[in-house]
């Protein structure tokens, strides 16, 4: 069965994130005084063949941990859903 996978990679809490800090500093000038806790990350989407949704989720998580993220400084979340035809 084919599943659509979505992996998000974010810097772990406590790791300096100058990009997000820079974005956040630009917000007041645009009138977004009400926004805080900005984080940035990367998003990966791919298709995966697996027998079950659980198996697909496990494979996607494994791929995310082995290659897409560096566990020293990044967290991952992987979700899958049956592929839309």
């Amino acid at each position: 069965m084919r599943f659509d996978a979505h992996v998000e990679v974010r810097l772990r809490a406590g790791i300096a994130d100058p990009e997000s800090a820079t974005i956040e500093r630009a917000l007041p000038a645009l009138g977004f005084d009400d926004v805080s806790a900005m984080t940035t990350g990367r998003s990966f989407r791919f298709a995966i063949e697996a027998a079950t949704e659980e198996a697909a989720a496990e494979r996607a998580h494994e791929l995310a941990c082995r290659l897409l993220a560096n566990p020293v400084m990044e967290d991952v979340s992987a979700t899958v859903e049956p592929a839309r035809a």
Partner: protein, 222 residues
């Protein structure tokens, strides 16, 4: 006696000839090692030079760590052979798990290419053996992802075991504990962000890099 030093070339590596030339200056015989071949060809030491291996796609070093040559480099390191990662090579070694921690974007989000002052923090590494602790060296950095980061537990270990090999005199990029270079627990694998090969002649601003490369040469003879 010319000791054979492997210089690993990934697609996108761009400092291999500078490193080879600087190694030759101190009397080593450089041997270029293509990333696609799973061998280090019986060399006495291995250098992973700077550049943008595999375009630095994903993260610097993230794809290079899976190149066939890295298995041979890991086996060479496990057997006690001296391995040095310079800049992108340091990033590859952390991604490969041969050195702890990671290199993240410089604090100022800027590509940084300029000479920096370093101080030798340990003389127990193949790159600093015989170089007194406290020695100052002026060597260029050239990177975007040069800020060393690691878990507190790892930093405690690095300090307790005196595995910080080089520190910045003035921290240019937000590296924890001013770290410019570290070694592994066995002390035979070293990574550093500054480029010793770019400080190989007074004509180009400094010859301080040769101090480190000479140490590497004699480390192998021992």
């Amino acid at each position: 006696m010319a000791e054979r030093t492997g210089v690993v070339v990934f697609p996108g590596t761009n400092c291999e000839h500078d490193v080879a030339q600087a190694l030759a200056l101190v009397g080593a015989e450089p041997v270029l090692l293509w990333h696609g071949e799973a061998t280090v060809r019986g060399v006495d030491a291995v250098v992973l030079p700077g550049g943008f291996a595999h375009g630095d796609y994903l993260r610097p070093g993230a794809i290079a760590r899976f190149s066939p040559v890295m298995e041979a480099v890991a086996a060479f390191a496990a057997s006690g052979g001296p391995v040095v990662g310079i800049c992108n090579g340091f990033q590859v070694l952390t991604e490969a798990g041969l050195l702890p921690g990671a290199l993240q974007k410089n604090r100022a989000l800027r590509f940084m290419c300029r000479p920096v002052d370093l101080v030798v923090a340990s003389d127990r590494s193949p790159l600093t053996a015989g170089v007194p602790v406290g020695t100052r060296l002026r060597i260029p950095v050239n990177n975007f992802d040069g800020s060393y980061v690691c878990e507190d537990r790892v930093l405690d270990e690095l300090r307790a075991e005196e595995r910080v090999v080089l520190r910045y005199v003035e921290n240019p990029n937000g590296s924890v504990d001013d770290i410019a270079g570290i070694c592994n627990a066995q002390r035979n694998v070293v990574g550093l962000m500054p480029h010793p090969e770019r400080a190989s002649d007074e004509l180009i601003g400094s010859a301080d890099g040769l101090v480190l490369l000479r140490a590497l040469l004699s480390a192998r003879v021992a």
